[in-house]
Symmetry: C2
Subunit: 505 residues, 2 copies
């Protein structure tokens, strides 16, 4: 039995090697690859992804999983071994439903689509990517239809990133949240906006990066096992538990871009770097769901990184780096600026309050496209109309509208966005639990110390990797299921201190 | 038949995808990977190399090659199709003799060995890598012994990089060359050395790179299909014909390091970028041998890049970039400095005249180690003794002695070095042929124009990739077989202009 278990692990490690190499192909494509490499790179990524899929869905893996059923029955549910078998079985059953050839076709298509998008977006040319996106929608529905018996066609796609969630669950949570959020957002955006001119001076990029990476390291990001590079669309990627990288972007005329994308991706990286080394190379060595992953990026970026306590410690340092730009800007003005709430066009630039409205738009559109109630050609107009309804403004162009996010141009449509708002909700829920256990955390943050918080997150979330599903992990860490209350309470307290929330309070 | 041929190409392309991804794993390991990634990276590289080997040596490939024999018989010898079948068959027969598991073990071992070497070299700690090197020697002999019937145990290893050459051929060529070279080297090194102080001032790295890359692009290096990064040991690597990269290193206190390593690697890159796109993804899409490859790096680095004509055009530009350092240094002083001949410790820093003595030392040691006439533990001392005999100086330490080159620490022992000297010989032979066809080349070089030379090399060498063996290619391009005479004539003319060669002239 032990030999069979070892054989399974060896096979899984081979799959992991192929997936990690495919990850590096993508990282390189986004960071350093010359344009001439694109055609072959699409083929290479497709081949590696196909081989990883083939190796993972091989009959041999299924036979080993079957043979190991009696072995698993004698193991504790939360042992590494039982968890590995449980999670591998779940993923195997899912993966065997999708043919390798289909996967390869999709990977090939999305690589090509991504390459076109990188040119179409700056050119504001939706028509150029439209045929790619139409094909992507076809692929997305085809992918869902490999899982017959779903309640909603989006369910299989949502489950691939947020296992345990269905379209109806997400719609219900989003409706509850919307009910609380819209009055708050309205109350704030009807007031004069905060002045964030202090963030829009000229800030040389090298110093921006140095400061951001210094904060990232103080949070606990280990650069012996990570690094930062520059890409248009920031991301975190892992090639092993010893090599967890982030990418960020920067703008000389906007201090918050590099800073907060760095803290965001650092949150993702802390999660992956915190996974126990014993899980290396197995399906357990990764975050358990898109929502839980995002809870960590949003917790470190927003709940910590945009808190007044954090800046009490770090603002004098930042002023020291940019004296000409910031020495005459008081802490409170800076704090209001980085927490400015406004009707904005770009999701990734959006504030904590309106961010979720961006996500809900995309989530609803994904459902509608998959249902066949929204055609790709209608998308730019639908975007503008919904945007006007939700935000009271209309995007000037598709570049800052339907072309803004990489997701649909580099992956399937469906299941791509709900994780961001689930993450906002969960980030607040986890933080509230950590605070209840360690009331000194806020005063530590004021001193630039993050050890207690980081340790609590490692012990309760990170170390487990994917051993537990998101619902299991939330229950274990917080003693209850997902709840929007801590998040609403957090927003009311923080933004009540910055704005008059009126009846919304 | 055509369908079978297409099936073969599809399978070969899958092998190429895996090899290219393995290449990227290595490039990343050398350029950007954080130290924590090393352990998993060794495993990942081993897995991809093993899979590439498995896919290439699969029975299916052999069956296709057999089935395609009648098809091949009706094709012209130099057609792409016949060449693909011929070269694939040769490599298949070679590769099927080496078991996949052995390959994986070796890759795993050499990755680990490389990692240790990167730390042992700066620490001057040969003992730390000694056990790795001993294991490497065992693997090297084991590898050779998969090819029983060799004349010399080094033959199968030499043939893997310089197909068509045997240890006795190389030894004979080297003996002939040595007879001519030693008196020239002696005549020069007995004279007072050239003063190269002008190269050893402070030269900021950014400007060094800008200048070198400007020259590289004028040579014809296409940065839409390439890029440059920094590594300790410079190399050229290709992920597709549209993505051919070089790496270089630099020293602020030595102008020639970045400059000439860039021109050297550019020569390699020009070869790969010049291969016809129709050969993409097949075993034909690469240089045909280590010697021919090196002929291009040495031709562009030395015959062009260290020529007086070249600097007539480029020295004023270099003076413009570094006026404080070079404005009072006349062209002739600079020209003598970059062509300084001396008894030096480091192969990659060595001048054109003594370089080959470095190579011959390593080649002879490889033969002796493989024969069992030189133990690894004796290597540091043997190195010092031979060095004293050949160069009249003794390395201060192992760092600049036996630890200096990456080759034995990241690959097998045997066949690693002869290509450098074969390249010197061939570079001169090809250049002489190009000049005979286009006598205007030297005056073009004086104007900073390289189009005629580059085009001749593309047409006669580069475009063919590996369609022809090195001996075939030399015959086609020059009308004769490998000859040391153009190289000796080149050295005599050039260095006769710089030094009194006395009786050696």
């Amino acid at each position: 039995m032990e030999a069979k278990f070892q054989e399974l692990k060896t096979r899984l490690m081979e799959v992991d090697d192929l997936s990690s190499a495919a990850g590096l192909l993508y990282w390189d494509q986004s960071t350093y690859m010359p344009p001439g490499g694109a055609a072959a790179r699409a083929r290479q990524t497709a081949t590696l992804s196909r081989l990883a899929h083939e190796k993972f869905t091989a009959l041999g893996i299924g036979k080993l999983l079957d043979a190991l059923v009696p072995y698993e029955e004698n193991l504790a549910y939360d042992s590494d071994e039982a968890s590995l078998l449980r999670v591998t079985r779940r993923e195997y059953e899912r993966a065997t439903k999708i043919p390798s050839e289909f996967m390869a076709e999709v990977t090939n298509h999305t690589s090509a689509s991504y390459q076109v998008w990188t040119e179409a977006r700056p050119a504001n040319d939706f028509e150029r990517v439209r045929p790619y996106l139409e094909k992507t929608l076809d692929y997305s529905r085809e992918a869902a239809n490999f899982f017959p018996g779903y309640e909603h066609i989006a369910d299989p796609l949502i489950e691939s990133s947020d296992y345990g969630m269905k379209a109806t669950d997400v719609s219900r949570i989003f409706a509850d949240l919307r009910e609380e959020l819209v009055p708050i957002a309205r109350a704030i955006t009807e007031q004069p906006p905060a002045d964030d001119a202090c963030l829009r001076k000229n800030f040389p990029e090298a110093q921006q990066f140095e400061f951001s990476m210094d904060v990232a390291q103080r949070f606990g990001y280990d650069l012996q096992r990570g690094r930062r590079d520059q890409t248009h669309h920031p991301f975190m990627t892992k090639f092993s538990l010893g090599d967890v990288r982030i990418t960020t972007r920067s703008r000389e005329d906007n201090l918050s871009d590099a800073l907060f994308t760095t803290l965001h991706e650092t949150g993702h990286a802390l999660y992956e770097q915190g996974i126990r080394m014993e899980l290396e190379g197995t399906p357990l060595a990764g975050g358990t769901s898109s929502g839980v992953h995002e809870s960590q990026s949003r917790l470190w970026e927003n709940i910590v990184g945009r808190s007044r306590g954090f800046w009490q410690c770090f603002y004098p340092k930042l002023q020291g780096i940019f004296p000409a730009q910031l020495s005459d800007v008081p802490l409170d003005e800076f704090y209001r600026a980085i927490n400015k709430v406004e009707r904005s066009l770009i999701r990734t630039d959006a504030d904590e309050v309106t961010y979720n409205l961006h996500v809900m738009l995309r989530f609803d559109f994904e459902l509608a496209m998959l249902e066949g109630n929204l055609e790709i050609r209608e998308l730019p107009n639908a975007w503008r109309e919904r945007f006007e309804t939700d935000f009271g403004i209309v995007p000037r162009d598709d570049k800052d509208g339907v072309l803004q996010d990489v997701h649909w141009y580099f992956g399937l449509i469906g299941g791509s966005f709900q994780g961001y708002t689930l993450g906002n909700i969960l980030g607040a829920q986890f933080f509230a639990t950590a605070l209840a256990a360690h009331p000194a955390i806020p005063s530590e943050i004021e001193r630039g110390e993050f050890g207690t918080l980081h340790t609590w997150l490692k012990e309760n979330l990170y170390q487990h990797g994917s051993k537990y599903t998101a619902p299991e992990l939330i229950e274990r860490a917080t003693g209850t299921s997902l709840s929007i209350e801590p998040y609403i309470a957090y927003l009311r307290t923080k933004y009540g201190g910055l704005y008059d929330l009126g009846k919304a309070a």
